[in-house]
């Protein structure tokens, strides 16, 4: 096929390259330093790049544009092949982490971990490298990381959270689930009639004393386990959420290990009925399925019993049930907690991809101010020109403006860049809180022996961890919901910023959006999660405001705005919102960009409290409570960003210009959202209407213009290789049109025998050449003659 392409670098097709090069020359930003800031620290930065390189150069794991043309069945199989490949990386990652354990002994590390009962008991942080690998894969091929994540994250964490030490070691280590060996698990929680509303699940696990077994059953259609990732094709085992029924008493929903398939040949086991959920909006590489159980028997020991035990007496004539309720409930959710924390990290990573693409396109693409159709009619000069023509030489002199130089386009793109920047420190911070808190929990709740567990728990220590965990639930719920929403919106908005080309599957937005948006629904619907976290914040607020209850040690990080003194100051107007308009970036002036959100949160909570008092209708305040959760997340992000950037030793930013640029990002984030929520800011008297016009909006425009000058380097600083972007209009070299054209033509080669002639051309030719009704379809002859004959 002949391509009209360009070899002259003066040709307009090379403008995008030149524009992007210019930006790089012009901006003094230190890309490496900023990348380190975004990746948390130099060590993590190094690992990120090593892992990314490994992923994109691996012939099985890498994704390219051909990926966009696969259909469901192909995606399913390709994803399985990638999982197989990942299992080898997984072994290697564990070996790297464990190599000091075995020193110079010549043993197979994995074999030892699996088969030697004295080997190390693996904990979360032993999987750090692989977890990071998965998290990075999530940016490139999210269905792959999810499909593995269901096994390792949901299935694995559910066992870790609910199993005894022996159960954990058996299923994960000895049987090999953690190494992707022998056991491949799925997480059978949700049912057709019940989403993440665990308490209402219908599946039953009925204890039978005689055989000492549980019988698992699906009592109704709505009890069908539904949406279960891995159930349709790949799971050999499931953790099943089912009602524990012992002697006709219902003890609520507990977790059970139920084998599904023979792992040697993948045949379903008796009593297990499985089906494929089929085509989804996205992530078709995951084999979501449904499961029904018909009198499936499992041994009593398959009940995960860290916190619940079914104990037949010595003579096997009676049975008792022992439940440790507090821990039960805290830990029961830890499987989901991990997912939420990871989704905040996903938000940073996934968002960085699209903001890189759209920013490069905005710099490279040129466009007139769209000539107003009506406007044109009225413009005398243009009319004249059209009428009389002009010399060809002038035609190419059309001065088209780069998209990024339009205020409106800056407003559409750059705040999205700020959002991604602000998520990063929050995501890293949340992740480390999660690991630290879970480790504390495991340590104090780890039973010395199975029988003594409840007694040996240190109550004070537990109470502290429990509070930390509660706070983590609140912030992770709020951040998961707020950020997955923000990224949905980001992908959509930035796709529109790339015009028609954003609609091409090869430019990543379409599949990206379809894969992404399920994050707003699964593992806690965003609205429900927002309510959950906001209700807890409201409760804390009431405790603080009315009883002065505030835990200086535990709450001063995420909930500093709930300090009783601060609440009082806001209430009595001792403090009022402002944004310091200086460029010197002193701590005091920068803190005003955070404090305004603290005030907003308190004013919003006061309003909600009053509304409930007045109307006695809690339900009606839920619309506002969703906003509380969003404000909490915004405040959290501003605060963690500020704390990090303020301290050179953790920000790793030494270059002053780079630091100033990051402070601008910080300010833009705050100001953008103040403007977006200006309804609330005025309604609750945080700002006056005149301040929106004279302070917020001019500052917004000013910040956009400033950030615009560094925008290419700010996206370069994500350091995403082209193979991660997988979007030719966003590649590093900025050669937008060649890259895009070459991708489209490579993926859609012309028909080899007859280019441009579709395989189904006969459908079209027979339509276009069809005859007239009377001439052929109703008779095949001159109609009048026949009709006259018939009429006689």
């Amino acid at each position: 096929m002949t391509k009209v392409t360009s070899v002259k670098s003066s040709d307009s097709v090379f403008n995008p390259k030149k524009f992007i090069e210019n930006e790089r020359t012009r901006s003094a930003l230190k890309v490496e330093e900023i990348n380190c800031f975004l990746e948390s620290n130099p060590d993590d930065q190094k690992i990120t790049h090593e892992l990314l390189e490994q992923i994109i150069t691996d012939p099985i794991l890498k994704c390219d544009s051909y990926y966009y043309d696969k259909e469901k069945n192909q995606e399913r199989e390709i994803t399985a092949r990638k999982i197989k490949r990942l299992s080898l990386y997984m072994e290697n990652d564990i070996k790297l982490m464990q190599k000091n354990q075995v020193k110079r002994e010549k043993i197979d590390i994995i074999k030892n971990l699996q088969l030697n009962p004295k080997s190390k008991f693996l904990v979360n942080k032993d999987l750090n490298i692989f977890d990071k690998r998965l998290s990075l894969i999530g940016m490139i091929d999210p269905q792959l990381s999810t499909r593995v994540g269901v096994h390792l994250g949901l299935f694995g964490n559910c066992i870790k959270g609910n199993g005894t030490d022996s159960q954990i070691r058996y299923w994960l280590q000895e049987r090999g689930a953690i190494f992707l060996k022998q056991v491949y698990g799925c997480f059978a929680m949700t049912e057709l009639g019940h989403g993440s509303n665990v308490a209402a699940l219908e599946t039953t696990a009925t204890y039978d004393l005689d055989s000492d077994t549980f019988q698992i059953n699906t009592p109704s259609l709505t009890a069908t386990k539904w949406w279960i990732g891995g159930a349709a094709h790949s799971a050999t085992h499931a953790v099943v959420y089912a009602r524990l029924i012992v002697k006709e008493k219902d003890y609520g929903v507990k977790t059970f290990i139920v084998p599904l398939r023979d792992n040697s040949n993948f045949q379903l086991l008796p009593g297990i009925i499985v089906g494929d959920i089929g085509k989804k909006m996205g992530r078709d590489g995951i084999d979501n399925g449904w499961i029904q159980f018909k009198n499936v028997l499992i041994p009593r020991e398959y009940l995960l019993s860290r916190f619940v035990k079914v104990i037949p007496n010595q003579e096997s004539t009676d049975v008792s049930v022992k439940i440790q309720p507090q821990l039960d409930q805290v830990s029961g959710y830890s499987a989901l907690l991990s997912g939420r924390v990871n989704m905040v990290m996903d938000s940073f990573r996934f968002g960085s991809k699209f903001v890189t693409i759209a920013t490069r396109y905005a710099v490279g693409r040129q466009q007139f101010v769209q000539v107003n159709e009506v406007g044109r009619i009225e413009t005398q000069s243009s009319k004249k020109k059209e009428q009389h023509g002009h010399n060809i030489a002038n035609v190419s002199n059309n001065k088209e403006t780069q998209l990024i130089d339009y205020s409106l386009h800056q407003y559409r793109v750059l705040p999205q860049l700020a959002i991604v920047y602000l998520i990063s420190p929050a995501a890293h911070d949340l992740m480390s809180s999660y690991y630290n808190t879970l480790n504390e929990l495991y340590e104090i709740s780890s039973p010395k022996s199975d029988k003594q567990q409840a007694d040996t728990t240190d109550k004070n220590a537990f109470s502290t961890v429990s509070s930390k965990l509660k706070n983590l639930f609140i912030s992770s719920a709020s951040l998961k919901a707020t950020n997955t929403w923000l990224i949905s919106n980001l992908i959509d908005e930035l796709r529109q910023c790339c015009g028609g080309h954003g609609y091409s599957q090869y430019n990543a937005f379409g599949k990206g959006y379809n894969d992404w948006v399920v994050q707003c629904t699964w593992e806690g619907d965003n609205n429900i999660l927002s309510l959950t976290s906001a209700k807890s914040i409201l409760k804390k607020f009431v405790d603080s405001a009315t009883k002065g209850k505030f835990d200086e040690g535990l709450d001063s990080d995420d909930f500093d705005y709930l300090d009783p003194d601060f609440i009082r100051k806001v209430y009595t107007h001792d403090i009022s919102a402002t944004l310091e308009d200086t460029d010197d970036n002193t701590n005091e002036s920068l803190e005003t960009y955070i404090e305004i959100w603290k005030i907003a949160l308190i004013q919003l909570l006061i309003h909600i409290g009053k509304t409930i008092q007045k109307t006695k209708d809690f339900d009606q305040t839920t619309i506002l409570l969703v906003t509380v959760s969003k404000f909490h997340a915004i405040h959290y992000m501003l605060k963690t960003f500020y704390t990090k950037l303020k301290h050179d030793e953790i920000s790793h930013i030494t270059d002053q210009h780079s630091k100033d640029s990051l402070w601008n990002i910080f300010k833009l984030f705050s100001v953008y959202f103040i403007n977006k929520y200006s309804g609330q800011f005025q309604q609750f008297k945080i700002l006056k209407p005149s301040q929106i016009s004279s302070l917020i909006q001019p500052k917004l425009v000013k910040l956009l213009k400033e950030i615009r000058t560094d925008c290419i380097k700010l996206t370069d600083a994500f350091e995403l290789p082209d193979a991660v972007l997988n979007s030719p209009i966003g590649y590093f070299d900025g050669d937008i049109y060649h890259n895009y054209f070459n991708t489209v033509t490579a993926n859609n080669p012309p028909e080899s025998d007859d280019p441009g002639k579709p395989p189904y051309h006969n459908v079209l030719t027979s339509m276009l050449s069809r005859d007239y009704e009377y001439d052929s379809r109703l008779g095949g002859s001159l109609n009048k003659d026949i009709l006259e004959k018939l009429g006689k």
Copy 2:
């Protein structure tokens, strides 16, 4: 496969049915009357239902759930088959419209129209039935209506708008394009480097005096015609937008007919290079392609020359170019105008589908208030229960609430219902303005003979039509942009309202969204269109405010808020915004719901005017101008709805309860958007902060509760058959779980030999059973022995 299903109607799986039945019994709404209101009038209502029934019962045209599992190549072919089928309906629809023309003469109507030069010259309204058919198909299978729409709408209207009468008759009627015969057209406007920015297009059409031909060329890669629907597979001809170059002078972009393929065998013609754009975010049934021209020769007569003529002199030694600029520019866009007007209608139809699904699901689905994970820990009573268990008999007594009874869920669903209701009268109104204005334009611009055209045009009449057309451009741009955005958001929001089930492809949201969102980009990017219309509104505002210019006859419909008197009143605060809080629905009280938007528009325009004066920076006000366009659209919708419902003879609503319910919808729409834009309403002092809290938000909650009682009947009133919805969670009978389960299982039957065993199971078994490194992969023997040997 065994299904756990239910035959007892007391089973919980039947709750959704019962809930939905109850709503129907309880509400006194007159569904038929409201449907008539939505369909404009009884005649149109009847036609809509007849056409819909024909579409969903036609074995080729109907869509079912299998449709969701097709991949690109299948969709392409299926869509072509449907077009072939549609061509027969098209003939029939024209025959129905023309049968009075031929009376009792026994002739083939189509043959006569095509081949008899004296036959009727077909105009837009002769295609009314088929256009409506296509519009309805757009709700069921949007890629089909678009693929035909490119030919009939874009290709056809471009010829109608730019061709002489002879050219129109030849291409559309004699050659048969309008009957889907012989000619299948595409619309080659956009280029790789240039979107709808027509003036910058690069393709050239250079006149050669010797041969009296044009030579069409693609001078650069960015000039490649790109995104051209129909180019990849189906078009035999293109209208090509290219720069008219005569004697080295560039006369700007004009339109040319260029043959692409031999219509008998679909081989590409020489000089035509065509490629497939490939996979898109949605609408893969359309064969979008790219085209490059290499010295393609076409006769001079293939220039569409209603308003531009290239005239060689008698001796063929010189050539002159004659351009009628004003008409040229007005008409040039009429091809796009039709698309925009149709997209407003699409917004109504497409939106009605998803709001029906989500409302039924919201009524049928039950859910606890999601138990707050943290909250649960603190609830003593629930803890007790868990600890001690409770009798099984009580388990099924869980009182789960219907989703629709949560305030937050009402807030998420019901305003979307109001949006769809408000679009309907606006869409019908815009459509008839379009037809009327275009007819006027054709009548006055229709040349008596080609040579005299410019002289015989009645200048006054033209000026009036031209002004009407300008107004139509403004309102259609604003309504297209605003409503296609609203519907994108509606689909996304309502998908989330259906939780995980909304993510299943079989429930219509995924494909619906992917197909829909391109409407925000094509035929005028929404941001650009919004700016275009807002700039014109700003200009009108300045003319009215500073010079008292206001055309009572032309502007008092869409632009009544620009009346100089009204502007003055707002400016001097002689008038202030309020919402009458009475339930008597007098005209006066209802009008306050419109007037508040008129005031908002003026205040916003005043602010923008002042900002430009102060900053001299027009570009920076573009962010606010987008809001002007949105407010204009909201005002237009409120006004047309009000005007229609106020008059019984055009509303066709006689039942008082139904009318009141519709007035509530009207109020909800206004109040919902006031609350959504409360930032602007406070900033520009249309409302005080206290009014948002005491007036707007309580009214919003009150209206939601009132509309909730009729919500099922309000969606029934769209009268969409299940086959149109194609979403089992939204079917009429409300049997959500059976319908959904049956659809999923029908589309994904178990593997016939070994259920639940994937075709690629060997990938998984080989992973799960893999050996240890030293045992097999690195040697196949005890590693220590070998290593010792090697170490010696």
